[in-house]
């Protein structure tokens, strides 16, 4: 059991009360303190855009009206300051243990919206990121799920990361994904999984690649929007 919160390092109170002990339920040790949990803002049970899942008072948000396609994404959390800070540590600093913070919730979330015939496909990271970071931040969040690696991210070494580009540049980009050789996805219904939906360009690129290669339907789920 961890003694301190994974995010703020303050002491964790893992004391069990008598009613819990007598209930004979399994102990799920706390990883994160109450203060840190409440700093994230959930999108579940909130009014969101029916297309991208963004917090939105209107049915279809301005971004999606601009896209004007049939893309559907579901998200769990808002991508706000607390989330940005989390990804700074998890993804960019490379603290792989932090995957546990959202892992269980995210896996539950995916299982809930997953349709029976759907195939889960995570967005891959490119090779140079994989060698320096050592992990894919998306699959880290999905431990315990059945997923298939069918895409290759072929962003070349000297080209920019997505977060280094402006919105316009991202939207004008051609797909940086290709299908892994030997994968047959014709007729499949696919659920793409990514960590963050910002402009939606990455997910749409992956969707284009998948549809070109014979997938019938592609929608996506992300941890935050």
């Amino acid at each position: 059991m961890l003694k301190s919160c994974l995010l703020c390092n303050r002491g964790l109170n893992n004391n069990l009360d008598l009613s819990f002990i007598l209930s004979f339920r399994k102990i799920t040790p706390k990883l994160v303190c109450e203060g840190c949990i409440t700093s994230f803002s959930t999108l579940v049970d909130h009014k969101t855009c029916i297309r991208c899942g963004k917090l939105s008072a209107i049915l279809e948000c301005a971004d999606c009206q601009q896209w004007n396609d049939q893309f559907v994404n579901r998200a769990m959390f808002q991508y706000d300051e607390a989330m940005r800070n989390f990804f700074q540590h998890y993804k960019f600093q490379g603290d792989y243990l932090l995957r546990k913070v959202f892992q269980d919730q995210f896996v539950n979330f995916i299982q809930k919206i997953l349709k029976e015939n759907e195939l889960i496909v995570p967005i891959p990271v490119d090779e140079s990121t994989m060698t320096s970071r050592g992990f894919n931040q998306v699959t880290g969040l999905m431990e315990g799920l059945d997923w298939k690696d069918v895409l290759i991210n072929q962003r070349s070494n000297d080209s920019l990361h997505q977060f280094q580009r402006s919105r316009r540049e991202r939207l004008q980009q051609d797909s940086s994904f290709i299908l892994k050789s030997g994968c047959d996805i014709s007729g499949e219904h696919i659920l793409l999984v990514d960590d963050i939906y910002t402009t939606g360009a990455t997910l749409r690129q992956a969707r284009t690649t998948l549809l070109r290669n014979g997938a019938t339907q592609v929608r996506s789920v992300t941890l935050c929007r």
Binding site: Q93, L97, T131, G134
Partner: protein, 439 residues
């Protein structure tokens, strides 16, 4: 490799991909050594469980020092031994001030330790003028082409020291390193940094001076202790500066394993104010009812009559608003504010106190060191709480009587019961006062 390129590696630990092309000039070694299920970090010395620091494909990383850039089995540590290619100069020191006789004695002892490559503890009471005492020693080391570092666990202390050193050594280039500085690393003979930054050095310094060794986070952090060992050359001297040595340092000093210099008198020559403890039963309950504990209201009444500023320390943030509320109810004329570590207006509020725009501050342990308000008195509510270490209590008492105009003052501890930390803090102040009267 070009000289300018090499300078980045002199006495440093630079992270490189494990598959980088090897060059002759670089010494490379693995960043992580695995021993069974343990991850042994070669930068910070931490031993962690492989379960917490696992990456996919049997790779591992160290979580302890991750804020300085991740050390993992995917990288290696590259360094070049410190060459000490520095220019000998006549003298760097341009400080017009003069040391008092006891200060001069201590500063001579520091120079001796530097020459003999020995460690030394400089035990100087709060308000003794430690920084000035270092100037001759630093100057001596710079002239002898030694590489030197002054490190402190606290970033505020480092930021406060920098202009003072720069003024005293205008000819020397000083690198200022801390977690919030955006400037890239530059190779200099004189380094001023937080103790965390020492993790990035390897056998770099001949002289390593650590200020406020007893303070958080250095005191309880084995990685930082490891860092100070690694950052200094095998032959060299480490000088510890503190007002409140504790634990191992105190033990070594008592067993005469660590040479110790005492500076028992404040610069104005008066003894330290001693701690007065009064029992304050149920102070939490009283606060909850909106009342002040009676010793505290007596203390405040005295302050109002004498028109003096004062500080009230409390153990927890949650107590701050309650004390404020009760105080304002009983003494509506007193201008008082609360301040804590995460307070965005922290600096401004301390400034207001300095300018005497307000009468009092209610605070937690952040104001225990480094801040000087002349002529104040101090009260500590719940001094027996675990957050007040012996060192913190001595430091709190040390806020009082700093000005030559009013070298005495009241240090009032209000607590239900005495504990070891309070007793030891009292004993330490008495010990220093006795030692001061002996010499």
């Amino acid at each position: 490799m070009e000289e300018i390129e090499k300078q980045k590696y002199y006495g440093r630990l630079v992270l490189q991909p494990i598959n980088a092309v090897p060059t002759d000039s670089l010494d490379c070694r693995p960043a992580i050594v695995m021993k069974g299920n343990q991850i042994h970090c070669q930068r910070c010395g931490a031993i962690t469980s492989s379960r917490d620091g696992a990456l996919p494909d049997h790779q591992f990383y160290c979580r302890k020092c991750i804020n300085l850039g991740r050390v993992s089995t995917l990288v290696q540590l590259a360094t070049i031994p410190e060459p000490n290619n520095f220019v000998a100069n006549q003298s760097y020191l341009e400080w017009p001030g003069k040391l008092t006789a006891p200060q001069a004695r201590c500063s001579k002892a520091i120079i001796n330790s530097i020459d003999q490559q020995q460690n030394r503890l400089l035990w100087a009471v709060t308000g003794a003028g430690k920084t000035e005492m270092l100037f001759p020693g630093i100057n001596h080391a710079l002239q002898k082409q030694k590489r030197i570092c002054v490190a402190s666990p606290r970033i505020d202390v480092v930021l406060e020291l920098f202009p003072r050193f720069q003024e005293a050594f205008p000819q020397a280039k000083i690198a200022l390193l801390h977690g919030r500085s955006p400037a890239p690393y530059e190779y200099t003979q004189f380094v001023l940094c937080t103790t965390h930054q020492l993790l990035r050095f390897y056998h770099a310094f001949d002289v390593l001076i650590i200020d406020e060794v007893d303070s958080f986070p250095y005191a309880m952090n084995p990685e930082l202790h490891y860092a100070t060992k690694q950052a200094r050359k095998l032959q060299g001297s480490t000088i510890y500066l503190t007002a409140t040595p504790d634990g191992k340092l105190l033990q070594q000093s008592r067993q005469a394993k660590l040479a110790t210099s005492y500076l028992t008198r404040r610069f104005h020559g008066h003894p330290l104010p001693e701690i007065k403890v009064v029992s304050g039963q149920n102070w939490i309950k009283k606060l909850r009812k909106g009342r002040l504990p009676s010793p505290l209201s007596r203390f405040i009444k005295e302050q109002i009559q004498a028109q003096r500023q004062f500080l009230i320390f409390v153990p927890k943030i949650e107590v701050l608003p309650k004390v404020l509320e009760a105080l304002q109810q009983v003494f509506p004329t007193v201008k008082v504010l609360t301040v804590h570590a995460a307070d965005p207006e922290r600096v401004a509020k301390v400034q207001m106190m300095r300018k005497q725009e307000i009468d009092a501050l209610i605070t937690i342990t952040i104001l225990e060191r480094g801040v000087t308000f002349p002529g104040i008195d101090v009260a500590v509510l719940g001094a027996d709480d675990a957050v007040f270490s012996m060192a913190a209590l001595v430091q709190i008492a040390g806020r009082v009587g700093r000005s030559p105009q009013r070298p005495k003052g009241t240090v009032l501890f209000i607590c239900p019961m005495l504990n070891r930390n309070i007793k030891r803090a009292q004993a330490q102040i008495k010990f220093m006062n006795r030692k001061a009267s002996e010499c």
